[in-house]
Amino acid sequence: MSATFPVYNGDAVDVCDVPELSVADFRDTVIREVDAGARIAALFGQAANGSAVRLIAVLANGATGTLGVTSTVVSDAYPALTPDCTPAHWFEREIAEQWGVEPKGHPWLKPMRSPNATTFFRVEGAEIHEVAVGPVHAGVIEPGHFRFQCHGEHVFHLEIALGYQHRGVERALVGGPTKRTIHYMETLAGDTSVGHATAYCQAVEALSGDRVTARAEVLRGVALELERLANHTGDLGALAGDVGYLPTAAYCGRLRGDFLNMTALICGNRFSRGLVVPGGVAVDVDAARVHQLLERLERAFRDVTQAVNLLWETPSVQTRFENTGPLSQDLCIALGLVGPVARACGVERDVRHEFPTGIFRFAQIPVSTWHSGDVFARAYVRWLEMQRSVAFIREQLATLPAGPIRVTGRPLAANRLAVSLVEGWRGEICHVARTDGGGRFAHYKVVDPSFHNWFGLAMAVRNQQISDFPLCNKSFNLSYCGHDL
């Protein structure tokens, strides 16, 4: 039996096909695959017989385009992967918290969703001071706690404590799908409704064997790219605001809404609620609506091009963006970062390109990268991606295939494990659904891109000035609720 079992994105395998390795072989397999260029798309526990816990790893190798799944069974403790495989560190903290299994030798094992019961790493020294921020922040943003160890302005270390948004979604998904499931998915991260709902629907369709029509796949793709456009526009505006460049901040604030309103033109809701459903999409667009969408897209793109280009042409903006919060490509790979953050370090990671599903199997979007790994790179990669999203939407809406938009759902197959990846605007979204003997969810795992990237932010502000934290933070713009679940 090979160490990993191959699975395609948006497909399911029999639970008994997933290899059950010894703990030592499981460790070796994950470490070897990650060394060979794979990333950990998911690593989590599931209940096994008695009090035992089955650890499941989903490994994604973008260079070879292969996804593999493997597992082992542990009881109270096992030798941690993290010392030999850094991208596992966040996952292993979650496993310890959710299952009471101790990854022995984990360098910083502490709860990740119990922020009120946590201690922080401290730097000692007469002139060291500690800055504590949050959970209630100065702006209208989600709660999280940031603990800085500083010497004057200089940041030695930042520790991020999350979990304030923990509302028990994964637990509530067990036994589903129910009438509430799709609403949980749309609100895993409310600014990524299309991304997460698509990941969920792909998983469910893999389990039911339903085949989505070409028209529905195109509409899902268009909605996903509109979501990317809206959020990237908002981020570029917010970055401009954080360096005090108000023209772009003001224009992008309005233009983000224009993209959201295009989504509302399709489905009535600015956050695409109710659009992506198992079996396809819930609403159709006629020729007049397509025409209006394209017209609005051109207007918004013209204005956003002008607004964003002001950033690159303004020296005072560039001075603040360049060399701020840099991450090296090696560190990015070592931490297992994803999305625009990884691509801004020159790492070609993009699910749409590596593991395409739906319309992205036929319409390829080039991967946008930049090499400098700083705030500028994270801003510029967003702009490159926006241009490609606009080109994609233009092309897709002009050649919208005819046909129905939804197929009626069949029941889910029993004892299957489905893996579903989607490139949301923040990066790789991974859902892993496992059904029981009755075709209900025995377990449902959600990995938001923020789960991979929060530690990247902590590393990016190391040896920076604390006053640059808001700018660095905005350049990542990670989700608290998607992380906390």
Binding site: Y184, S193, I266, D303
Partner: protein
């Protein structure tokens, strides 16, 4: 510099005429639902069974819909062959009392202006601290939008401030997770009295999709007294703005 000036000219003036003129909403927008219990077939519970948050009940006093729990998803209208539940384009949804959000075929009792003394204090200058306490960040996003040039919240004298001690009230989103309960309580306590509390979105009113989860407290009112409820999932920015202005007596 010339490009900045040219951009300014091209981008134009974008602030909506609201509240002067009626806003234009997308034709598929789901605003205030209206109920017509006379259309209900005897014993039919299709809408109640389809509702993901059990906002609709049919058994006790006929057809009732709790706007505070409603996600405005439209599942009820999709399953009702008679059209007994229909979503309108009406974005005005805010109320002062929790029970006013329960619809049973009567007109929605929208929020009234605060009393004269409170309006004298806050009517022309209202500073709010926002607390995000669970939820999905969509309500926060559409609260933030009020600060853009499109809605230009500042022209009404309303502003989000960084510290609770500078605030006249708290605007709460999210179902209030157990992990945020203490932070919300402390923030509320830090706001000088008299103070207002505004609950925005289904989560902050009832727990929303997370209602009755062990990890949440089913809304802001479980921790602090609420003065204004703004339903939606998330509420449209205009719904939020309408609620705030109504409370301040700026709308009739």
């Amino acid at each position: 510099m010339l490009k900045v000036v040219l951009a300014r000219l091209q981008q134009g003036h974008r602030t909506v005429a609201f509240p002067g003129a009626d806003p234009v909403l997308p034709d598929r927008f789901r605003g205030l639902p209206v109920l017509d219990p006379s259309k209900c077939a005897t014993g039919c519970q299709a809408c109640a069974e389809a509702c993901p948050t059990d906002a609709i009940t049919t058994h006790q006093r006929g057809l009732q819909l709790d706007l505070g729990r409603c996600l405005f998803c439209g599942e009820c209208t999709a399953v009702c062959p008679e059209g007994a539940v229909q979503f309108t384009q009406d974005y005005r949804l805010a109320t002062q009392a929790r029970e006013d959000l329960v619809l049973d075929g009567q007109a929605l009792r929208l929020a009234q202006a605060l009393d004269r003394e409170t309006r004298r204090l806050f009517g022309r200058s209202l500073k709010l601290r926002q607390v995000s306490a669970g939820g999905c960040n969509a309500c926060e996003a559409d609260v933030n939008v009020l600060n853009t040039v499109v809605f230009d919240l500042g022209r009404f004298g309303i502003q989000f401030v960084a510290a609770p001690r500078h605030a006249d009230g708290v605007l709460i989103t999210g179902p209030v997770t157990e992990n945020m309960r203490l932070a919300l309580q402390k923030t509320y306590d830090a706001v000088p009295a008299p103070k207002l509390v505004i609950a925005v979105g289904a989560c902050a009113i009832s727990g929303g999709p997370y209602v009755d989860h062990l990890e949440v407290h089913n809304g802001a009112a479980s921790v602090v007294p609420v003065d204004l409820y703004i339903p939606g999932c998330p509420p449209h920015p205009l719904t939020i703005l309408d609620g705030l202005l109504r409370l301040l007596g700026r709308l009739r």
